[in-house]
Symmetry: C2
Subunit: 352 residues, 2 copies
């Protein structure tokens, strides 16, 4: 059987803020039967995760990309791989059977074939999904990388103590919204920044942040931090970099910890870099640490049991921002850098 | 008995690079007898430690000084306290007797009185010195803060593994020269930067660094780091901040560690700040950590036994740079920021 497979490519490398016109929809026939002897798995994509880090894979080749050893470059004209959940529709691999729900590196399109993915990153990273009675979308965001990023970054990198003060930037985003909730439930004082009044209301209302502010309405980012942290910041969970990082360093307490989870302010703007005061870093013995969820797989069990517990007692709010259809991938992705999304951005490619 | 006590003060706050004309010599009569009932200790200073951080205490009051909670401001016209070794010449404190050799916070002058010190920093921090057959000057530098700073910064903050690559800036300085030697003896590949060919020769010859370079002859600091670290830097022991920190971050390996021990390039230049690439910090999971020796007193025993062992087998070279007399304090201090010193800078106030 053959189907029409639609997928998204970049027309050329993208070095500034992405625009929808940087992307193109391609259509190719795809066979749903596996040739004998091949161990391919063909997956019908259901949900695709849309993440800011993909922009760094789309940039022109440069020295900086050497550091991205966890993910290769996106090549203009070729299919783009990204995390998602789908259903097996054909398989030559005995580990998977038709109808299996799987998660892993899929393709930004209607269908994925594991062989292609495997050639790019050595391991196919395809896993069977146990739904545990939760919506499939939860397995893309919360139980995919967003949750473990938030959990490991907060608990393992920041090593919080009850009663400490926590600042989260991009706090209504996929990771930030979870960090804030983990921190509150753990017993910290939590303040978040976001880019609209609507998001601020959401943080203080639904998510239970102690305080929140709209950074776009603050001419000097040091002011809100002084205002909401009169006794200083113990932990800064940094999703944005740039000026916010500088302001946070200035307001950190001695022995403060900064988890560098994202630098979205710099992904689209080569020239702008944070220049945190290193004299503060020295005298206040601040720790600034970059981390990736992939390094913290050991903690996944802990993450899962804590998170399921919070969900069961109704104390955890999972924010999802879902677009529909392969055609919506470019606008979904471009919107990340304009702050369009509230919570985890994903594209629902097909109903289950 | 009364003596003439010469001591050094600043005429006004110093906000740029210090000059000798910023300082003034004062002379006051000092009584060497203690009034009954007072627990003062009067010390004849022998060696005084001359350290760059003192400049930060001399700046105009500003928000930044709040972070220096371990040391108060230096007040124009008043005596300046700093680490040193001296001999007790009068005492109303039963814990000390005349003739005791002591180390602690002394005064930049001929004599120190503990009472003054105690009022400034709560604890007098006066300790009896066991010479252990070593020169008295060793108790100011190597066995004072320089040694434990180097040791704790390298072993506790950077957590080295044998065979890792280590870069040390200001490598011929009091701390850098020790870090390089600890790292070599531990089994690392060590490269140092310094500000003259003479210093470079010293690092590669006497101190056994694998490589060294003169940063003043490098138009782009990334080049020497690429040249001497073709496989990247695992550990950067940062004494300088600024451009060197940026260049190091760009050349760090995944999971690299940066100990922020000093930011001397920024002490004299308010405008110039390092803007390390936080995208590198993120994707390479780099840890940047400020630290102070005072937080690592627990490790002092370890430090002492390792260091004495190295000394006994003749494998450790202690670089000292000694000026003579209270009058030489201003030029000794000012010279730190011109890179005049080789190894630990101190002033010998009096012979024992």
């Amino acid at each position: 059987m053959e189907v029409k497979n639609k997928y998204i490519v970049i027309k050329q490398n993208i070095d500034g803020a992405p625009e929808e016109s940087d992307f193109e929809l391609k259509t190719e026939p795809l066979s749903l039967s596996i040739e004998p002897g091949k161990d391919e798995v063909v997956i019908k994509n259901l949900y695709l995760s849309i993440d800011p880090y993909q922009l760094n894979r789309m940039k022109s080749p440069c020295a900086f990309q050497q550091s991205m050893n966890f993910a290769g470059s996106v090549i203009p004209g070729e299919a783009i791989d990204g995390y998602g959940v789908g259903r097996v529709v054909a398989t030559g691999n005995p580990e998977f059977k038709e109808g299996d729900l799987v998660s892993g590196l899929l393709t930004w399109g209607d269908y994925s074939i594991t062989k292609k993915v495997a050639s790019k990153i050595e391991a196919a990273m395809l896993n069977k999904v146990e739904t545990m009675g939760l919506p499939i979308s939860y397995h893309v965001g919360l139980l995919g990388f967003s949750g473990v990023t938030a959990y490991a970054g907060f608990f393992e990198v920041c090593k919080p103590k009850k009663g400490e003060t926590v600042f989260v930037s991009a706090a209504s985003g996929s990771v930030g919204s979870l960090v804030g909730q983990y921190a509150k439930l753990f017993g910290c004082y939590v303040v978040g920044s976001a880019g609209s009044q609507k998001k601020v209301d959401l943080l203080k209302g639904k998510l239970g942040f102690d305080e929140a502010f709209n950074y776009k309405e603050e001419p000097d980012l040091k002011s809100p931090l002084k205002r909401y942290f009169p006794d200083g910041i113990d932990i800064y969970f940094d999703n944005v970099g740039g000026e916010m990082l500088e302001a946070a360093v200035e307001n950190m307490n001695p022995f403060g910890r900064i988890a560098v989870c994202g630098v979205i302010s710099e992904y689209t703007n080569k020239g702008r870099r944070a220049a945190p005061n290193m004299v503060d870093v020295l005298y206040k013995r601040i720790k600034i640490q970059g981390f990736l969820a992939a390094d913290h797989v050991k903690g996944y069990k802990d993450f899962l049991s804590t998170t399921l517990e919070h969900l069961q007692v109704g104390k955890f709010h999972v924010l999802e921002d879902i677009s529909h259809g392969v055609e919506s991938i470019p606008s979904a992705f471009v919107g990340l850098f304009r702050g369009d999304n509230v919570g985890k951005k994903m594209v629902k490619v097909a109903g289950d």
